[in-house]
Symmetry: C2
Subunit: 232 residues, 2 copies
């Protein structure tokens, strides 16, 4: 719509300063993200025991983990990554939104990780033996480093312009690699759960499979919204 | 070394035509790829039954699947993706190498998929119920379409230059998304195997975890060699 009612010159001038209309790719990312949240809730509330961090039922505690690791961590980090396309404001505002959504992702991610460790304690399960946990802990640790590094270089106190320009492509590529790793952590987690519980041939496994596909497609479209940012 | 012994002017002239020295990122990609192949062989030959597509032992038939899906499909596709950096030749030669390695990946991938179906037949297991299989089949099908599309647009017969230029960023982004999906398929496959066989607390599971990390890092460094191609 923005495109239809404004002149080319106006668009050129404002393109990089103000509103840049969200592309079809970010719309698809949101679509798959929301489908994933719905499927996640269907799974945890209908097929599983519900979500409650303070419960005596260890399984209700565990369920906080997949919910917050996707909705709290991956979905919010995806929003942060897409902020430069979806937020119609000055560059500095976009930057703050980008930082803030990543902060939210980090805080909710910490609660989500806490839920997994609390469940292990309650249920007497060993910590950090699986490929899922290795990828997950590795991703989360590097994510926190990347956030801190980004804050210091780009926002507060902020590095000289030439340093920023040199670091910028590495910041973007590292962020995309981290999104990729987070999706791998999520999918290996789902795969572990289905196989461990021997759910393979139950309806529940179909729901989890579609959840996994939705998470994967969310990751792909967030990534495309960045790699194709100049074209879409 | 190339950089040390040639003048800047020579480099500028030849940079985009001939040899472009492989960057540290492609070296790391090769390192993790080779570590993954070694760990894969240790796993399948030492901890498992060995690799043999014609065996009466269904497990030896199965083992062809992980071996060819990584070494045959993902590793070869990664080589194809890095060819523009690693092959010191004219652009047209790089393009042919890129196409040819992808063709090899496709052929070996088909044999690898066949091994999984053959194992299922021999062992009386249902096909295509798991998240791993859904991601895997989806990835492979889209990979074949992308190959065909790339062949027609970029090589034979080849589209007009402006079409090529328009399609180029989409071709690259789609290829990167497919690599990402293939790595997800591999990691969910490993996770499924470890959990299904209840290997979690055996040494074998540690080998498989490190194999998974090596595969993930291979994917990340192949991806970085493309996203940072202009900087490294």
């Amino acid at each position: 719509m923005f495109k239809l009612f404004t002149s080319d010159a106006f668009q050129m001038k404002h393109r990089y300063r103000y509103a840049r209309p969200a592309s079809g790719v970010t719309v698809l990312a949101h679509l798959f993200g929301i489908i994933a949240i719905i499927l996640l809730l269907v799974w945890l509330l209908h097929y599983r025991e519900g979500i409650d961090l303070d419960s005596d039922n260890a399984y209700r505690v565990f369920n906080v983990h997949p919910f917050l690791m996707f909705f709290g961590f991956i979905f919010m980090a995806g929003q942060a990554m897409m902020a430069y396309k979806t937020v119609g404001a000055e560059r500095q505002v976009k930057k703050l939104v980008h930082m803030f959504f990543h902060l939210v992702a980090m805080v909710l991610g910490i609660v989500g990780l806490h839920a997994a460790f609390k469940f292990h304690d309650q249920a007497g399960v060993t910590n950090l033996y699986s490929l899922h946990s290795w990828i997950g802990i590795g991703t989360f640790s590097l994510f926190c480093l990347q956030w801190l590094f980004g804050l210091v270089v780009f926002l507060f106190p902020g590095a000289p312009s030439e340093t920023k320009a040199r670091v910028h492509p590495w910041h973007i590529s590292a962020g995309r690699a981290l999104l990729f790793m987070a999706i791998c952590a999520a999918l290996t987690g789902l795969m572990e759960k289905v196989t461990y519980l021997r759910l393979q041939h139950h309806h529940e496994a179909r729901v989890i499979n579609f959840l996994g596909l939705a998470i994967l497609l969310f990751g792909i479209f967030v990534d495309l919204s960045i790699s194709l940012a100049r074209y879409v």
